[in-house]
C-alpha cells in the first residue's frame, strides 16, 4: 500500500463517516421536532425548551475564563428570550425538576434523550471523520513532498478539515447546533473532492514553486473555511429569524440561541475571515509580483477575489446601517459566500486565466 493510496483511502473513508455524522444530525433534528413541537404549544414549555440549552451550556460556562463568559453570555440572552416568551415567570430550574406528568403528550423524555443521543453520535462520527481526513491530507503532503494545497482537490480537502475542526471548537463552546449544516458541507465538499476534483499526486508547475504558495493558499483556505461556517450560521439565522417573526418556532429551532445571538456569532466569523481574506489578496499580490511580474493584473481569479472582498465589505457596513441589519446583511453575506464558491469552482473551470491548475 503506497502513501498516496492510503491518502485516498483515508479521504474517501472520511467522506463516508461525515455522511454518517450527517445522518445522525438529521435524526437529531427529526427527533427534536417531535418533542419540542409538543412542548411549544404553551409559552411555559417554550421557556423550558430554552432552559435545556442553558443546562447544556452551563457546564462549559463553569469551566474557565473567557470561554466560560462567552457561553454564559449566550445563557443570558437565552434566559432573556425565555422570559419574553413566558410572561408567567419562567423557572430556571434544571429540566429534571419539570414534572413530566403535566405534559399533554406522553413519552416526551424519550425523544428528548434520543435527540441528545443522536447529537452525541453525530459529534463522535465527525471526530472520527476528521481524524481520517487529517491522516489523508498529511499522507497526501508526504506523498507529494510538498504542502498539500496544489490543486482543487487538495484545497477542498484541506478547507473541509479546517471547517470541521473549527466547528468542533465551536461545538465545545456550546454551538453543537451547527452539526447538521457543517456535516452537510463536509460531506458535500469532501464528496466533490474525491469524485470530481480528484487528481493524482504530482509536483507543481514552476510558478507555484514559492513559499508564497504556502502563505497565500493557506490563508485562502482558512478564510474560506470561516466564510463557509459563517454562511452556514447565516442560513440558520435566516430560518430562525423567520420563525421568530412569524411565531412559528418549533422543533430543533427552539434549541438554537435566539436570532440576535446567532447573528452575532455569524458576524464574528465574518469579522475574522474578512481581514484574513484581505491578507490573502495582499499576499497573492506580492506573489503575483514575483511570479508574473505584476502585483495586480485583473486576472479572473483576482477580479472575483476582489468581488468577494467587496461583498463582504458591504456586509460589514450593512450590519452597522439602519434598515440593513440582520436579515438583509445575512443575505449579502450569503451572496459573498456564493461568489467565493464561484471564484473557486467557476473561475477555475469556466474562465481561463493564470490561476488554472494542471488538470483541475
Amino acid at each position: 500500500m503506497t502513501i498516496d493510496y492510503f491518502s485516498n483511502l483515508a479521504l474517501v473513508t472520511a467522506t463516508v463517516i461525515y455522511a454518517l455524522a450527517l445522518t445522525m444530525h438529521s435524526i437529531e433534528w427529526a427527533a427534536a421536532r417531535k418533542i419540542t413541537a409538543a412542548r411549544s404549544t404553551t409559552g411555559k414549555r417554550k421557556g423550558e425548551a430554552a432552559d435545556d440549552i442553558e443546562t447544556r451550556t452551563r457546564p462549559d460556562a463553569r469551566a474557565t475564563t473567557s470561554r466560560a463568559s462567552e457561553a454564559s453570555a449566550s445563557t443570558l440572552t437565552i434566559t432573556r428570550t425565555a422570559a419574553q416568551a413566558t410572561p408567567d415567570s419562567p423557572t430556571l430550574e434544571p429540566e429534571g425538576d419539570v414534572d413530566v406528568d403535566d405534559e399533554p403528550f406522553d413519552g416526551d423524555p424519550i425523544p428528548q434523550q434520543k435527540t441528545e443521543m443522536f447529537g452525541r453520535m453525530g459529534i463522535s462520527f465527525t471526530l472520527i471523520g476528521l481524524a481520517c481526513a487529517i491522516a489523508g491530507i498529511t499522507a497526501r503532503g508526504i506523498a507529494a513532498h510538498r504542502w498539500p494545497l496544489g490543486n482543487m482537490f487538495e484545497f477542498t480537502t484541506m478547507a473541509m478539515v479546517i471547517i470541521v475542526a473549527g466547528y468542533l471548537v465551536l461545538a465545545k463552546m456550546g454551538m453543537r447546533w451547527l452539526g447538521l449544516p457543517i456535516t452537510m458541507v463536509a460531506t458535500v465538499g469532501n464528496g466533490l473532492a474525491v469524485t470530481v476534483f480528484y487528481v493524482a499526486v504530482a509536483g507543481l508547475v514552476p510558478s507555484l514553486n514559492s513559499y508564497w504558495f504556502i502563505i497565500h493558499i493557506t490563508a485562502a483556505t482558512i478564510s474560506g473555511a470561516a466564510f463557509n461556517i459563517g454562511g452556514a450560521i447565516s442560513i440558520l439565522y435566516l430560518i430562525k429569524k423567520r420563525a421568530e417573526d412569524k411565531g412559528t418556532e418549533k422543533g430543533y429551532l427552539l434549541r438554537l440561541p435566539d436570532s440576535r445571538r446567532i447573528d452575532v456569532i455569524a458576524y464574528r466569523l465574518f469579522a475574522f475571515a474578512f481581514p484574513l481574506w484581505t491578507f490573502t489578496i495582499a499576499a497573492g499580490a506580492v506573489w503575483a509580483e514575483y511570479a508574473w511580474g505584476r502585483y495586480w493584473g485583473w486576472d479572473p481569479k483576482e477580479v472575483w477575489a476582489l468581488v468577494t472582498w467587496v461583498i463582504f465589505a458591504c456586509y460589514l457596513h450593512a450590519r452597522s446601517t439602519a434598515g440593513w441589519k440582520g436579515g438583509r446583511a445575512a443575505v449579502i453575506a450569503l451572496l459573498g459566500l456564493a461568489v467565493f464558491w464561484f471564484n473557486f469552482i467557476g473561475v477555475n473551470l469556466l474562465l481561463s486565466g493564470l490561476h488554472s491548475y494542471a488538470g483541475i
Binding site: S72, W296, W298
Partner: protein, 539 residues
C-alpha cells in the same frame, strides 16, 4: 464608515436649493456611506465583464480571435470597451467617484477623531445602574485597595483613566475609556484604500513593461527599439532607459515524465531556470540566474522569466549552395506539448522571396486525425512541418508579425501533384525545394527565453498601503470602544464595588466584559477564598 446620513431627505424637500445648496446636497449625497457602498458594489460589478471577455491588456491575440468569431456583437462590445474594461472611462469614473466619496467621508471623521483623542475621559455619572452594562459586587477589601486593583486591571487593558478628587468619606470613583484606537484603525484602513488606488494609478503613469524573446546564446540590450513589445506609461520617456544588457547563456527546463503519459500531469513544466550574464555600463559583467518566482533587479527595472520555447535554426541555400538564411527563428508554443507556430522569412532569395510557415514539433508523432502532433514538450524527436510561399514578403513595407507570413503578395508553392507543398524536416535533414529554388536544412533547436522587463514605481507604495490598511482593519475589527465607570463604597469590613459600562455601537459582550472585570478586581483586591459567593449574583 459607520454613520449614515439620513438628513439628506430633509434637504431635498426644500423648495429652492440654489447653486451652492445644490452643490452641498450633491456633496452630501456623494460622501454618504450609502453612496460609497453603492460605488464599491458598482466597482465589483463593473470588474466582472473583464473576467469574462478577453482583455487587450492581458491577451490582445484572444481579443482578435473573439472579434473574428463574433462579427456582429464583437464591434459593439468593443465600442463600449468590454475588451479594455479596466482602462475605460466608465470604469475610471466609478473608482474616481469612489476615491472622492471615501475622502469626503474620511477627512471630516479624521478631524473628529483627532478631537476625540484629545478629549478627556468623562466624569463618573451619578447612577451607574442606568448604563447599558452594570455589575455590583461585594469585595472583602478596603475601598482604597479595590480602587488600586481596578486601576491596575484597567491600565493593563490600556484604558485611559480619570480620577477626580472626592471629599473625605465619599465613595471613591474611577472613570476609564478604552478602544479609542478602533476608529483610528478604521480611518487608517480607509485612507490606505485610497493610497492603494493612487499607487495603482501611479504605476500606470510612471511604469513601463517590455517583452522580448531572447534565443539561448543571444544577448539583449535594454533600449526602446530592441523590445518586441513595449508599453510605456503616459509619463515615461523611453529614451531615458538605463542601457544595460543581458546575455542568455543557458536555459534549464524540466518537464514531468515520471507519471503515466495519459495523466494530465504528463509533460507539465516543473522547472525553468536561465543563467544569464548581465552588464551595466562601467561595471564588469556578472553571472546571474533568473528563474520563475525569482526575478532579477537591474537598472531600476525587474527582469522576469515568463516564457520559453524553441527557436529552430535552419539554413536556406539557393540552387548554387550559397547560404541565404542561417538563423535561430523563435516559434511560439501553442499548447502544453509546445507545438509551436512560426515563419521563416528569406528575403535574400531570388527571383522571388521565400517564406516558410508551419509548425515546430519538439517530439513529433503522427496522429490519424490531427496529422503531425507533438506528444512531449521536450526535444525528443524534433521536427519542422512547413509550407512554402513565394513572392514579396513585405509588401509596402508595412509592419507585420514575425511569426506569420503576410501572404497578400505571395503565392503558395505546389508539389509535382499540384498539392500545396508540405515539407517534413527532422533535425539534421535537408530538403531540396522543387523547381530549383534551392534547399532548406534543419540544424538544431535551441531554446529561447521569454523575458518581461518591468518597472512599477507604484509597487512599494501599494504594498505599504496594503500592510498599513491591514493593520488598521485588524485594529478596527478587534478593538471595542467602551467607557467603564467604577464607584467603591465602604461596606462593613469590605467594600461595595459598582461598575457601569457604556459602549459605542453594538456591543453584545459589554455585560460579560464588566463581569470579567469585576472578577479580576475582586481576585486582585482580596484573595479568592474570602469572596462571598452569595453576593455574586446579587442585583
Amino acid at each position: 464608515m459607520t454613520s449614515t446620513k439620513d438628513d439628506t431627505k430633509a434637504v431635498v424637500t426644500q423648495p429652492k436649493l440654489g447653486v451652492l445648496g445644490g452643490l452641498r446636497w450633491f456633496w452630501r449625497q456623494l460622501t454618504s456611506m450609502r453612496t460609497a457602498l453603492f460605488l464599491l458594489l458598482m466597482l465589483s460589478v463593473a470588474a466582472v465583464p473583464g473576467s469574462i471577455f478577453p482583455q487587450r491588456g492581458i491577451s490582445a491575440q484572444r481579443v482578435t480571435t473573439y472579434l473574428d468569431q463574433h462579427k456582429t456583437a464583437g464591434p459593439i462590445l468593443d465600442k463600449i470597451g468590454l475588451f479594455d474594461v479596466y482602462t475605460t472611462p466608465w470604469f475610471a469614473a466609478i473608482y474616481l467617484l469612489l476615491v472622492v466619496s471615501l475622502l469626503g467621508c474620511v477627512i471630516p471623521r479624521i478631524r473628529l477623531q483627532a478631537k476625540t483623542l484629545r478629549a478627556p475621559v468623562p466624569k463618573v455619572p451619578r447612577r451607574l445602574s442606568r448604563l447599558a452594562g452594570h455589575v455590583e459586587r461585594e469585595v472583602a477589601a478596603p475601598p482604597q485597595e479595590v480602587l488600586a486593583a481596578a486601576r491596575a486591571a484597567l491600565s493593563r487593558r490600556r484604558y485611559r483613566l480619570r480620577e477626580d478628587a472626592v471629599a473625605e468619606g465619599a465613595p471613591l470613583e474611577l472613570a476609564a475609556e478604552g478602544g479609542r484606537m478602533r476608529e483610528t484603525g478604521n480611518l487608517l484602513f480607509h485612507l490606505c484604500l485610497i493610497i492603494v488606488i493612487i499607487a495603482l494609478a501611479l504605476g500606470r503613469l510612471l511604469g513601463w513593461r517590455g517583452d522580448v524573446i531572447v534565443p539561448v546564446g543571444s544577448s539583449f540590450s535594454s533600449v526602446g527599439a530592441r523590445y518586441d513589445t513595449l508599453q510605456p506609461g503616459a509619463w515615461v520617456d523611453t529614451a531615458k532607459f538605463e542601457p544595460w544588457s543581458m546575455k542568455v547563456n543557458n536555459l534549464d527546463v524540466e518537464f514531468e515524465d515520471q507519471v503515466d503519459p495519459s495523466s494530465a500531469q504528463w509533460g507539465q513544466p516543473r522547472h525553468f531556470t536561465a543563467s544569464v550574464t548581465t552588464s551595466l555600463p562601467g561595471q564588469a559583467p556578472r553571472q546571474r540566474t533568473l528563474g520563475v518566482n525569482s526575478p532579477l533587479a537591474i537598472g531600476g527595472a525587474s527582469v522576469f522569466l515568463l516564457g520559453n520555447g524553441y527557436a529552430p535554426r535552419v539554413t536556406v541555400r539557393d540552387a548554387k549552395g550559397t547560404v541565404l538564411y542561417d538563423e535561430a527563428t523563435p516559434f511560439l508554443p501553442q499548447d502544453n506539448t509546445y507545438r509551436s507556430v512560426g515563419a521563416i522569412k528569406v528575403p535574400a532569395a531570388s527571383p522571388k522571396q521565400l517564406g516558410f510557415f508551419g509548425f515546430f514539433l519538439p517530439t513529433a508523432a503522427f496522429s490519424k486525425t490531427q496529422g503531425p502532433v507533438s506528444i512531449f514538450p521536450d526535444t525528443r524527436a524534433p521536427a519542422l512541418v512547413l509550407g512554402l510561399y513565394e513572392g514579396t514578403l513585405f509588401p509596402g513595407g508595412r509592419p507585420q508579425s514575425v511569426y506569420t507570413l503576410d501572404t497578400a503578395s505571395m503565392s503558395q508553392v505546389k508539389d509535382t501533384k499540384g498539392q500545396p507543398l508540405r515539407i517534413l524536416l527532422r533535425q539534421g535533414q535537408t530538403y531540396q525545394l522543387p523547381g530549383g529554388r534551392g534547399s532548406i536544412s534543419f540544424d538544431n533547436a535551441p531554446r529561447w527565453a521569454g523575458l518581461s522587463i518591468r518597472s512599477d514605481p507604484g509597487k512599494m507604495p501599494a504594498l505599504a498601503g496594503a500592510l498599513l490598511g491591514l493593520l488598521g482593519l485588524v485594529m478596527s475589527m478587534s478593538l471595542r470602544r467602551r467607557r467603564i465607570f467604577l464607584r467603591v463604597t465602604p461596606e462593613g469590613a469590605g467594600s461595595r464595588l459598582q461598575i457601569g459600562g457604556l459602549a459605542k455601537g453594538d456591543d453584545p459582550r459589554l455585560q460579560v466584559a464588566l463581569e470579567q472585570l469585576a472578577d479580576t478586581i475582586g481576585a486582585r483586591a482580596a484573595p479568592p477564598r474570602t469572596l462571598d459567593p452569595a453576593s455574586e449574583r446579587k442585583k
